[in-house]
Symmetry: C2
Subunit: 82 residues, 2 copies
């Protein structure tokens, strides 16, 4: 089994109201050192080793896990876990 | 400015219906090598350098960014960005 970690974030320029809300709340709580917050999704997949794993992960990201119009994704493919 | 990355995931044993839905959809799309999916949140903070930064980040995670009853968090504190 391989552990694949996918991070999906909004593209620059796309409004992130959740991030703004978190920034605002942190300021209210006196964490004024926080200048900006960007939120995203973290998705962890447990995958059986296959050929073209990286290619298939990319496809999954583009077809289902992210919305390529407004979101960017990055992924890491971890070493095999027993 | 320092970039802080926070990953919030559900604790083991907490139901993750979104993860199950993604697994199901991936199988429907013939990605049968995917055995399980766990979803979580990814939060990126831009923070001014302060004393006790790590301690303050932990506090933010526990008080606002995660729900310690059902969620775990990890974070990385990146090197300074100009």
């Amino acid at each position: 089994m391989v552990k694949v970690q996918v991070y999906v974030t909004l593209k620059a320029g796309v409004l992130d109201p959740q991030g703004s809300a978190i920034t605002h709340s942190l300021h209210t709580m006196n964490y004024n050192e926080v200048k900006s917050v960007q939120t995203g999704k973290y998705i962890e997949l447990e995958v059986e080793e296959t050929e073209n794993l990286e290619e298939r992960v990319k496809e999954m990201c583009e077809k289902l896990l992210s919305n390529p119009v407004i979101e960017d994704y990055t992924y890491t493919i971890g070493e095999a876990v027993s």
